[in-house]
Symmetry: none
Subunit: 238 residues, 2 copies
C-alpha cells in the first residue's frame, strides 16, 4: 500500500467503543489503531481519559488527543454511513455475519463511504439498543466460547484483518449509502407510520422494532432505496 491508500483507509473507518470500563484497554486500542493505520476514535459513555489510558497508548497519544466523547451511540455515529458491530454471541433478533463476509462487505463500499466499527463494554458487550444502530453484526472467529476476546484484542483482530487484506482497497460495488442518521430517520418514519396504523403496539413493539431494524439495516439504504421504501410504506396511510 502506498501512503495515499493509507489515507483512504484511515478516512474510511472510525472505531467506536461503547462504555469502556478498563482505562488500560482504551490506551491499548489507540496503540493498536496506530499500528494498523487508523485514527478516528470515538468513545461513548465516558467524558474524559484517565492517566492509565495514556500510559498504555505508547506512541499513540495523538489518537487519544483527537478522540471524541459522546453520550450515546446515536450521537457517536454522526457523519458515518454504515455501522458494523462486533458481537461475541448471536442475538435473537439480529442477524450475524461471519467475519470474512463482514470484511468483504466493508471493502465493497466506495472510498467515500464512512464505516463505523462498534465495540461493546468489556463485561456486557453491546446492548440491544446499541445494536439497533448497526447495519450488520459480525463475530470474530475464536477457538472456544470462553472467554470472549479482550476488548483491545477484538479491535486489533478486526483492524489488522482490514489492514492486511489487500481487499481493503475499495472495490466500489455498492451504491453510496445514506448516512446512518438518515437511514435511521427513514426507519423511524416508517415505524411511526406503522404504529399509527396499529401494526405496532405496546405488546409487540420491542420485538418488531428490533427485527425491523435488522431487516432494513442490512440494505445499507441508498437515497434511491429510501424513496422507494417511503413510497411503499406511506401507501394506504391516508
Amino acid at each position: 500500500m502506498d501512503s495515499t491508500e493509507y489515507t483512504i483507509l484511515q478516512n474510511k473507518f472510525a472505531v467506536i467503543l461503547c462504555r469502556p470500563e478498563i482505562p488500560e484497554n482504551i490506551g491499548l486500542v489507540a496503540r493498536n489503531m496506530k499500528n494498523t493505520g487508523f485514527n478516528d476514535l470515538r468513545l461513548v459513555g465516558i467524558s474524559s481519559l484517565e492517566k492509565k489510558t495514556i500510559v498504555t497508548a505508547v506512541h499513540a497519544r495523538e489518537i487519544l488527543e483527537n478522540a471524541r466523547f459522546y453520550d450515546s451511540v446515536a450521537d457517536a455515529i454522526e457523519n458515518l454511513d454504515v455501522i458494523f458491530a462486533a458481537t461475541a454471541k448471536a442475538r435473537k433478533r439480529f442477524s450475524l455475519l461471519p467475519m470474512e463476509e463482514a470484511l468483504n462487505k466493508m471493502s465493497n463500499f466506495t472510498g467515500t463511504t464512512r464505516i463505523g466499527l462498534l465495540f461493546g463494554n468489556e463485561r456486557t458487550g453491546l446492548t440491544s439498543e446499541e445494536l439497533l444502530h448497526s447495519n450488520f453484526r459480525f463475530k470474530i472467529p475464536q477457538a472456544g466460547n470462553q472467554p470472549s476476546y479482550n476488548l483491545a484484542s477484538a479491535v486489533l483482530v478486526t483492524l489488522f484483518s482490514i489492514f492486511s487484506s489487500e481487499a481493503s482497497i475499495s472495490k466500489a460495488f455498492y451504491g453510496q449509502p445514506l448516512s446512518r442518521d438518515d437511514q435511521e430517520a427513514c426507519l423511524h418514519r416508517i415505524l411511526l407510520n406503522l404504529e399509527k396504523k396499529g401494526f405496532i403496539h405496546e405488546t409487540n413493539k420491542n420485538h418488531v422494532e428490533e427485527k425491523f431494524y435488522d431487516l432494513f439495516g442490512r440494505l445499507t439504504m441508498t437515497a434511491e432505496d429510501r424513496n422507494l421504501l417511503l413510497a411503499l410504506f406511506s401507501k394506504g396511510t391516508k
Copy 2:
C-alpha cells in the same frame, strides 16, 4: 474445525516469551492463546507469576498453570522442531520473512512438527543471542514504524493469523432462506397488493418492479422475514 483439528493445532505450536517485563501482558497472552486455540506457553527469564498476570488471564488460568519456566531460550525450545521469531525491525545478519510467507511455511510443516513462536522483551525485543535459536524471523505488518505492537498484540496477531488460516469456521451464520420460488411468490404477492392500491401502474410498473426485486432480493428472505414483510405490506389494504 472439529476437536481433533484443534488438538493438532494446539500440539503443533508453542508460544515462547523471552524476559517479559509487564505482568499484565503475560495474562493477556494467555487469554489470547485460549481464544485462538493454543495452550503451550513457555516463559524465559522469569520463575514465577504475579497476581496481576492472573487477573488479565480471564478464563485462561489453566494455560498459566501449565506454563513452564526456563532460564534461557536454549532450554525453552526443548522438544520443538522449528522456531519462528517475531521481530519488529530487520537485523543486520538475520534474514527476515514477510509474515505471509512465514505463515505459509508454518502450515507446510506436517502436523507432527513442533513449532515454537518466539517473542522478545517489551522494550528491547529479541537479542541476537536469542535470535540465534530461531530458524526464521518474520515481521508483523504495520502501518508505520512507531510504535511496535504491544507484546500481547504481537502474539495475538500471529496466533489469529495461524488460527484463521487453518480454521474452517462453521458457515451456518445465515438463517435458512426460503426457496427462491417462495421468495418470489412473496414479492409477487406484495406487488399485486401495491398494484391494487394504485401505487404501481402502467407507467412505472417495470421500473418499480425491478427496483423492488433488487431491494428485497438482497435480503435472502427467511420464513420469518417473509412473515414480517407480508404483515407490513398487508396493513392498510383493507
